[in-house]
Amino acid sequence: MKFIHKAILMTIVLAILGYNFCTVIINQGEIGVVLNFGKPVRFLMEPGLFFKLPDPLHSVTRIDSRLMMLQPRASEFLTKDKKNIIQESSICYKIIDPLLYLKTLQSPEALERRLTDMMYSHSGQLLGLSELSDLVNVDKEKMKLDAMNTALTKELKDETKQYGIHVENVFIKRISLPQQNKSAVYERMRAERDRIAKKYLAEGEEIALRIRAKADKESREIIASAQKESSILRGNAEAEAMRIYGETYPKNPDFYSFMKSLETYKTIFDENSVIILDEKSPILKTLFSGGK
């Protein structure tokens, strides 16, 4: 092996060892803490390549400094007007002071625990002071959710300063009802729908009855007026006929009565009639006497 080869090999080995033990790369979105046997000696707040002493002397812990979100589990609270509600909120925060953070909380789990506790406490207080109508209301002016978000953000921001945490925003994610109350609401909604449905049906009946009655009335009226007209017509016709008869028959009343009697025979006798004549009846007399 030539000297140059040995030198190159040695340089490579040294460079790899040196890189591994004496440098640290801090990525964007994290903070490095250089610890000297557990004691923080330097904070690497910016991303980049940093030099340090070899490992046992200086070890590095990385803290996630990105904006993070914590969503404590939903929890049940009582409002001022004694209504049970379930509330879930989200907290957006980031670690800004690694020293305070390491001194007070140490681990993400402890941090989350602490934030959760604070959140429950503050939302309990706030909800205890407000009524359900502050949370949901048809009138937008009476809604206080945004104000509550702002208040929660401010409270948590102040309280977490001592832990080296910056709370960016807190917002109530959802407000809901416990299952039992939900069922009651469903029951009410169902009743309301029933009410509307019944109303529709009754309205229908109302209109239908009116239409039927009107139709009956109209038809009766039409028929009656027609009957009236026809009676008048008939009457007029009878009168006219009588007038004609009255004008005609008196011209020869004898002939009229004679004719009527003849006509009457025609109607009286039918083919079943049996004729009984007295032997002295004029008919026979005339018949047998040769027409005299």
Partner: protein, 634 residues
């Protein structure tokens, strides 16, 4: 030493016999065997570790190949020593048993490997090896290659020095092992450039290992007197088969191939692809015939190329040049891991030494190779979305339902519901099931990708919060019917207001209410209202039908009545007029001769009326007499 690969069984037996007498040579060979076996073991361990790190199947295959070779070497070593210390019969049986045990082991390994290769072909995994790992694998396999090469060279030297056929043929075997490992290297380099041919190489190597095991089985049986002749016959048969399949077997073809290989090698000196392929073939047919051809061919080509120097000798003389070239190539490959591509719907962030140094758009870009640099490529297409109240399974490939009805449970669709998120209170304290989608664009890529942990989840949370707040001040019926348009707008404005305070680097472009309906429990009653509405109009329609039926009929009846009356009236008057006329006419006629007419008419009447009727004449003397007649016709 590697007996199975030589056809000269007799020569080998003679050598083994002679070893019994030549103590010095025996000791040298044993020592050399130990060295060779330790190289095998080292290579095996090395490749296995490499496999554990990279997870590459083909490296595992090569490691198993080394194991197989090692076990074969072990069996041969065993046969050398045992032959020396025990009498012939016992030794042969012991050798046979050892060979069979080892063969069983090797066959099992090749079996598993073969199916692993088939499996990786049938279920191809997307390039799961990072570029970093690929480079490590390339360096590692290069080292393995060099070791095999050195081991082959060492074996040849020992063979030449001690005049051992076993060692010489073992050297040839090792050389083709070297070519196999080179093939593995080639596969992995291809992988670096995105071509995944692991499965082919894995299957080939599993076949090689199978061939080794198979041959060992035959050999194991040959140690028992009974099967010795069978072994010879099978060996002869397979070698004849091989002649049929391998083209450079015939004299003529030999020349053609030799010429083409010669020109190929002289044009691209460092590309050993042809030899790799020949090496692989020779391994699958572990026959001395092929080996001899290979060695002859090799000697032949390189004699003319490098004035009588073997390829391995040539490489050995220029070892530093080879190492330099290999190191430079591998350095280039390492530096090449810094290249990354960004497609048109993506944005890349170049991270050098942990810092975001550039935001890159579509194209080919470079960051420092790991661990100094990194890149983050995120999808920034405008259709990015978050969902509240439900989740979409984008890999859904089953049939979707005909229509999404309100009460659809979504167990059978790509959408899965999250009732905790979706069911919310409305302004009039009703509950509603709200499923909302927000489309957003990334306005600040660095912020989105690096400064926020899980920004999509944060946006989803914010969206849910805004939806619940906004729906909290509208009555249920407004939300369900007329309000959808302006509520979407309101949520969008609201969420963007919040995003101005919460820097996650996105803006919401559009909010869509995907599904808004009353909770499942009350849906039947909602439908009931619609039914009631229908029923209402049905009742009204029926009444109208009645009216429509009655009035025209009444009108008709009235009309008929009137017409009837008119008819009656006309009839009456006309008849009267007729009667009058009739009377007047008859009266006039009658008056002309009153008496005659009267008589005539009377008699006419009598005649007409009495005609055909029974007439009874009664005496008139009797006084009160009453006759009753029965009607004869009744």
């Amino acid at each position: 030493m590697h007996a199975p690969n030589t056809h000269n069984e007799e020569e080998l037996q003679a050598e083994l016999e002679s070893l019994k007498n030549d103590v010095g040579r025996y000791k040298t060979l044993v020592k050399s065997s130990f060295i060779v076996m330790s190289i095998d073991i080292f290579e095996l361990a090395f490749e296995y570790l490499l496999f554990l790190y990279t997870g590459s199947l083909v490296i595992l295959a090569d490691a198993l190949h080394s194991l197989g070779d090692f076990l074969v070497s072990l069996s041969v070593f065993f046969s050398i020593t045992i032959n020396r210390h025990f009498d012939n019969r016992v030794a042969k049986h012991a050798e046979g048993i050892v060979s069979l045990l080892i063969a069983a082991f090797i066959l099992y390994g090749s079996w598993r490997l073969f199916f692993a290769g088939i499996d990786s072909f049938l279920n191809p995994v997307a390039n799961d090896m990072s570029q970093e790992k690929t480079v490590v694998a390339i360096v590692g396999v290069t080292v393995a290659c060099i070791m095999t090469f050195l081991s082959s060279r060492f074996k040849r030297k020992v063979g030449e020095k001690n005049n051992s056929i076993a060692f010489e043929s073992e050297a040839a075997h090792s050389f083709s092992d070297f070519l196999t490992t080179l093939g593995v290297l080639f596969t992995i380099v291809l992988r670096y450039f995105g071509v995944n041919l692991d499965w082919i190489m894995t299957i080939l190597i599993s076949l090689i290992i199978f061939a080794i095991g198979f041959h060992l089985v035959l050999k194991g049986f040959s140690y028992f007197q009974k099967y010795s002749s069978t072994y010879k016959r099978v060996s002869l048969f397979t070698s004849k088969c091989a002649k049929l399949f391998i083209p450079f077997d015939t004299h003529h073809a030999h020349h053609g191939i030799e010429r083409s290989i010669r020109s190929f090698v002289s044009s691209i000196r460092w590309v050993l692809l042809d030899k790799i392929i020949i090496g692989l073939f020779c391994q699958i047919w572990p026959l001395s015939y092929v080996y001899k051809k290979l060695i002859l061919l090799q000697k032949d080509i390189h004699k003319s190329l490098h004035e009588g120097i073997h390829l391995d000798e040539y490489l050995f003389i220029h070892k530093w040049k080879v190492v330099q070239v290999v190191v430079i190539l591998e350095l280039l490959l390492y530096l090449g891991t810094g290249f990354y591509t960004v497609s048109s719907n993506e944005t890349g962030i170049t991270l050098n030494l942990g810092k975001a140094t550039a935001i890159t758009t579509a194209g080919f870009h470079y960051h420092l190779p790991p661990p100094f640099g990194d890149c983050k490529v995120i999808n920034t297409q405008s259709g990015k979305r978050v969902e509240s109240g439900f989740r979409t399974d984008w890999n859904w490939n089953k049939k979707e339902p005909e229509a999404y009805l309100w009460e659809y449970s979504h167990s059978n669709s790509p959408y899965s519901k999250n009732f905790d998120e979706s069911v919310t209170l409305t302004g009039d304290e009703n509950l509603i099931d709200a499923n909302v989608v927000a489309y957003f664009t990334i306005t600040d890529t660095v912020q989105y990708a690096l400064s926020v942990k899980d920004p999509d989840e944060m946006l989803r949370s914010l969206l849910t919060s805004r939806v619940h707040e906004t729906l909290g001040h509208y009555p249920l019926d407004t939300i369900l019917t007329i309000g959808r348009g302006f509520i979407e707008e309101e949520i969008k404005t609201d969420i963007n207001n919040y995003l101005s305070q919460l820097p996650i680097g996105v803006t919401v472009d559009k909010v869509h209410m995907q599904e808004m309906h009353p909770p499942v429990d009350v849906i039947p009653k909602y439908r009931g209202v619609a039914s009631a509405r229908e029923k209402k109009s049905r009742i009204i329609h029926r009444a109208s039908a009645y009216a429509n039926n009655t009035i025209p009929r009444a009108r008709g009846k009235a009309e008929a009545e009137k017409l009837k009356a008119q008819g009656f009236a006309l009839e009456k008057v006309i008849i009267a007029k007729g009667d009058a006329e009739y009377f007047l006419k008859r009266n006039n006629a009658f008056n002309k001769s009153k008496a005659t007419n009267k008589t005539r008419m009377r008699w006419n009447a009598v005649r007409n009326n009495l005609k055909g009727k029974p007439i009874h004449v009664v005496p008139s003397k009797s006084k009160r007499r009453v006759y009753t007649f029965e009607n004869p016709k009744r």
